[in-house]
């Protein structure tokens, strides 16, 4: 679970934040292995493990948030707006890692307003309007859907 706004412990180090992710008794035994896995996915976090989280960039903080969620060995990873307020290049990098996590067998459940990026990744996608599902289908199909293109991808995309 990666909440919106990340909700990290800003005054603590990267490694402490990650370790706290594996605080529950069930998650503790796999702590070391999961820590290695997170550092493999985000090598920059390994380099900065002793740094205070508040001193990191928004994108790096988001990596810590994703990493902390992975520390419980989840079957499903839920993310609320992970690209919010992050440099586009870093947002892209995080989404790429989500694909990698997914290939390793973790279901990824993503709520995202960056529609194009989200649809490119998604195997299944749902468009919600005022709380109701208005369109659903594969990510690729939704990318071609005229309604979706008109409403979310801009007029240029709709006419192309």
């Amino acid at each position: 679970m990666v909440p919106e706004g990340r909700r990290l412990f800003g005054g603590m180090t990267v490694e402490e934040n990650l370790e706290l992710g594996a605080f529950t008794p069930r998650a503790r035994p796999a702590r070391k292995a999961n820590l290695e896995r997170v550092y493999a996915l985000f090598p920059i976090l390994g380099e900065r493990r002793r740094q205070i989280v508040r001193a990191l960039s928004g994108g790096q903080q988001q990596m810590v948030a994703v990493g902390r969620a992975l520390m419980t060995s989840p079957k499903i990873l839920m993310l609320d707006e992970p690209s919010l307020g992050i440099a586009p290049r870093l947002a892209r990098a995080i989404l790429d890692v989500l694909v990698e996590i997914n290939r390793a067998g973790v279901t990824v459940f993503l709520v995202e307003q960056n529609v194009r990026a989200a649809l490119t990744l998604a195997q299944r996608a749902y468009v919600l309007e005022s709380g109701r599902i208005v369109v659903e289908g594969s990510g690729a199909a939704l990318l071609r859907d005229p309604h979706v293109r008109q409403a979310y991808l801009g007029p240029l995309a709709a006419s192309a």
């Binding site: 679970m1 909440p3 909700r7 990290l8 412990f9 800003g10 005054g11 603590m12 402490e16 370790e19 706290l20 992710g21 605080f23 529950t24 998650a27 902390r68 419980t72």
Partner: protein
């Protein structure tokens, strides 16, 4: 010049106890968002604990810490369960108000209880080495107070290690920063509260022990110590153990200076001036987040 230097030394020695008193209060306030105005009364109880252990059983006052601190921890567990567990169920804004009521009530009860049990007399622990001083040129340093400062150092260092290395220590810090996020990561926030409160009470007990050795205890010292601790917490800000301790020593020195420069009665004024100035100029304190 010499008199001033002598006052400064005494100020540092007393300030160490201010720091120790304040760290307990700061921990409880920072983690539970509860202001325990009975903190000084807990210090008073610790002082009596040592006084009676020394008087009745002939234990060395510094060795009495080995009993007083665990007993204070237990008292903290009990007080949390009986009183403060209900306070932390309220949302954070209501907590401070409710805790003030409960704290004042607890302070009054403990004060009255101490008067009834032990009379209102001022008591001080007497040890064979109580009058010993280390002489440096024209300056003299009371050995007992110097040892108290050393004990305070060790306790503060121990707390720092506990909060940075112990699993639950990290959980306590995480809870202090954002209890909802702590809950999300699976931390039992209630238990973090309980532990923080118990540790805070244990530190109060330790501070009380040291007060009874180098200075004196009576049932009415509680308010004064709560006040000093509060001034130090405001000065230091929340979130730094070492910073709070340093701020305590700072207050001790500032008091000694103002007493030396403006005369004895002004000793108490400087703390309140610091209190107001810090709140106006830098509300988050010198070392606060």
């Amino acid at each position: 010049m010499n008199a001033l230097a002598q006052q400064l030394i005494l100020g540092v020695l007393l300030g160490g106890l201010y720091g120790l008193a304040a760290v307990g209060l700061s921990l409880v306030f920072g983690v539970l968002k509860v202001l325990n105005v009975a903190h000084g009364e807990l210090i008073m109880l610790g002082g009596y604990g040592t006084f009676w252990l020394v008087t009745l059983l002939g234990i060395d006052p510094f060795a009495s810490l080995l009993l007083v601190v665990p007993l204070s921890l237990l008292l903290g567990l009990g007080l949390y369960g009986a009183l403060f567990a209900f306070v932390v169920r309220a949302d954070e804004e209501a907590r401070v108000r409710t805790s003030l009521l409960i704290g004042f009530g607890l302070a009054l009860v403990l004060h009255a209880l101490a008067v009834r049990l032990w009379t209102a007399d001022e008591r001080s622990v007497v040890t064979p080495y109580g009058g010993a001083v280390i002489v440096l040129g024209n300056l003299s340093i009371p050995v007992v107070r110097l040892m108290s400062l050393a004990v305070a150092f060790v306790l503060i260092g121990g707390l720092h290690l506990l909060l940075t290395h112990w699993r639950w220590g990290k959980a306590i810090r995480a809870t202090a920063e954002d209890w909802q996020a702590a809950l999300l990561t699976g931390i039992d926030v209630r238990r973090a509260y309980l532990l923080a409160f118990a540790i805070g009470t244990g530190l109060a007990g330790a501070a009380g022990s040291l007060v009874s050795v180098g200075y004196s205890v009576s049932p009415s010292i509680g308010l004064e110590w709560t006040l000093k601790a509060l001034i130090v917490v405001v000065l230091a800000g929340l979130g730094s153990v070492i910073g709070t301790f340093v701020a305590g020593i700072f207050l001790g020195v500032a008091e000694a200076l103002s007493a030396a420069v403006f005369g004895g009665p002004y000793r108490e004024v400087v703390g309140l001036v610091i209190f107001v100035v810090v709140l106006v100029v830098r509300p988050r304190g010198l070392f606060g987040r």
